[in-house]
Amino acid sequence: MKAMLIRGGRVVDPSQNLDDILDILIQDGKVAKCGKQLKDSQAEIIDAKGKLVTPGLVDIHVHLRDPGLEYKEDIGSGTLSAVAGGFTSIACMPNTKPVNDNHTITRYILEKAAKEGHCRVFPIASITKGLSGESLSELGELREAGCYGASDDGKPVGNSEMMRRAMEYARPFGMTIISHAEDLSLVGSGVMNEGPVSTELGLKGIPWVAEDAATARDIMLAELTGCHLHVAHVSTKGSVELIRQAKRRGAPVTCEATPHHFTLTDEAVRGYNTNAKMNPPLRSEEDRLAICQGLADGTIDAIATDHAPHHIDEKNVEFNIAMNGVVGLETALPLTLKLVQDRVIDLNRAIELLTCGPSEALGLPVGGLQVGGDADLTIIDLDRKWTVAASQLNSKSKNTPFDGWAMQGAAVCTIVAGEIVYKLD
């Protein structure tokens, strides 16, 4: 494999507090050297002057829909969407058909990703068999096969004892338990955030307490069991505060927030816009601001997309019966950079939330640019202006609420293990 020299970029790697104009030499898929004025006459030169060079971005919450729901997305199209958005590692959720509740499915995903994928894929195991909430998946073998975490994403583990046992069982295997925090009895048949907008539109609401109550339970179970809990897609002010307090107590808790929850509110549902329908739902401005605060003060560890591709036939229907979820891989980076432009967080924090923040939350062996480590990098043009066109997305599905949005900042080159997997002219 030919060596590669990335020259003159501003290298930001929050995992080692690095922020400097540096050259990076890549040999055999690894970071060989990182320093000033590096030379290698054999290497392919990549001019990164004026650009940002970061560890490859990491998204720990993606639905690849493969196996079983390939009409929405598959491992090829989903990972292409990832690298186009600057991501070099993604973790995929187990709610496929069949569910990733045994090592055979995990191996299928990893083999297909090795063959047809464009980036690294880390499958997440289901906590319970078939996402039924009734009996534990074979978490030991799933860990051996390559699952770093387990989640019944899309469904909460409703039974508190089941969740307790899952945490106790997962802990010695070093697995993270990911909570989809939702009390279904409080959700009922709700389809959007409960508040003035749901009242006006005549749509059934989901109150914030549905999330807060479940988050509180799972934090306490993590404290009881000592298992690492990661709370997925935090959407409420109350959940952010509960996690902030838990961290202060030293509880083994991390969490993530999505770009749509820190960018949009339930106002986006007006007009019965099914591309603003997701779970958890878009919340109030107060909640959105609390998430921004959590991103800034360190309460929230990671930005994750909850990339949830759905076919147009599943969205082009009445709001009540539309599927939940939006695609997010190709809009996450500019929306995160918008937080920097709006002075919510600084650039280093933004990159942290997209690299070592998520990788540490799930214990993934990626997210930094240490010499000797895998050469996964993203080169970002902070000034590049572009407009989102849903029809142009690399994902098979086009269900984005950001169609037509003017963005600033884009990944212009994505490198996985020393190979360019995506390049924007």
Binding site: S198, T199, G202
Partner: protein, 313 residues
């Protein structure tokens, strides 16, 4: 003033002038309903589809009679007889209907926003909302206003109590918009489980702690139907208790103004939200509402059809 709306999706998008025009037009059409030959040629050659995807007797009948009295051809389809049960999407059903070139689709649907969904996707015909989920029921609010104006001589300044299940009521929402735009004040009351958050932001609304506060000195008392089928849920302990705390009866009606009128969008649960003696009492205008419903729907069909602007040209 010409009517500018192609569709009637809700009261929210109508102005005070629009509402006044509809009510005035309704008043003018009302006379036809008392004639020996109850038919005018106004909409001759127009086709109106009444697409009722949710059960309805009164509203469908009212729209059908309204269309027929204007000489339009009216065709009814219902949820159980349409292709919806065969798995066809609402968009496909509507586009198939549109391909047969109707002029107006009147739609009743259980999903909030369904008429808006159709209006966005249909190219030629007008969409009239006959009730969508818990969102809006514009023709009901208009017939209510027409009835209030008839009995009270005005709408501006009226104190209107609306009592019952506000959360699930499209009648309440449309009335809140309409009454607020026309300068009336709305007081709401109902069980704590049936008062949605932020309802006061929809207009000139006061949420009252109980039925008595809401109806005290009111000019109009509007009782909403309590959905018997919701009893399996967690919203009410019993109809007996509902009747005791939120039912209108010969005693508590005395708190309202002496000349207050009593309204109900129907169908009534006698002995639950309204006692038989009040429902049949001297203050009730419930059948006037039904009669005005035909007139106001004639006005809506006439105004969205564009016939008016053609005649004035």
């Amino acid at each position: 003033m010409a009517f500018q709306h192609k569709h009637i999706l809700g009261i929210e998008s109508l102005s005070r002038e629009d509402i006044e025009l509809i009510l005035n037009t309704g008043d003018a059409f009302k006379e036809i309903n008392g004639r020996d030959i109850k038919k005018v040629p106004t909409l001759r050659g127009k086709t109106i589809i009444n697409a009722f995807f949710e059960a309805s007797t009164r509203t469908r009948l009212s729209f059908e009679i309204a269309g027929k009295r204007l000489s339009a051809d009216t065709v009814n389809i219902s949820g159980s007889t349409s292709s919806v049960v065969k798995g066809e999407t609402l968009e496909d059903t509507a586009k198939n209907i549109e391909a047969m070139a109707p002029d107006i689709i009147v739609i009743r649907h259980g999903h909030s926003g369904a008429p808006h969904y159709l209006a966005e996707r249909l190219e030629t015909c007008s969409v009239v909302n006959a009730g969508d989920g818990a969102h809006e029921h514009p023709s009901q609010a208009l017939l209510d206003l027409m009835t209030m104006r008839e009995h009270k001589g005005r709408i501006e300044g009226l104190e209107v109590a609306i009592v019952g299940d506000i959360t699930h009521s499209r009648v309440a929402r449309s009335n809140i918009y309409a009454l607020s735009k026309m300068g009336a004040r709305v007081r709401l009351a109902g069980p704590g489980t049936m008062l949605p958050p932020g309802i006061e932001r929809l207009g000139n609304v006061e949420v009252c702690a109980n039925l008595l506060d809401a109806i005290k000195d009111a000019d109009v008392v509007m009782m909403l139907r309590i959905q018997l089928e919701r009893q399996s849920q967690t919203l009410l302990p019993s109809l007996r208790e509902y009747a005791r705390f939120y039912g209108l009866n010969t005693e508590n009606i005395k708190l309202a103004k002496e000349d207050a009128i009593v309204m109900h969008p129907g169908p009534m649960n006698r002995g639950v939200e309204i006692s038989t003696y009040v429902a049949d009492g001297i203050q009730n205008v419930i059948l006037d509402q039904v009669a005005n419903g035909v007139a106001v729907r004639m006005a809506l069909l006439y105004l969205v059809s564009g016939v008016e602007s053609m005649q004035t040209q």
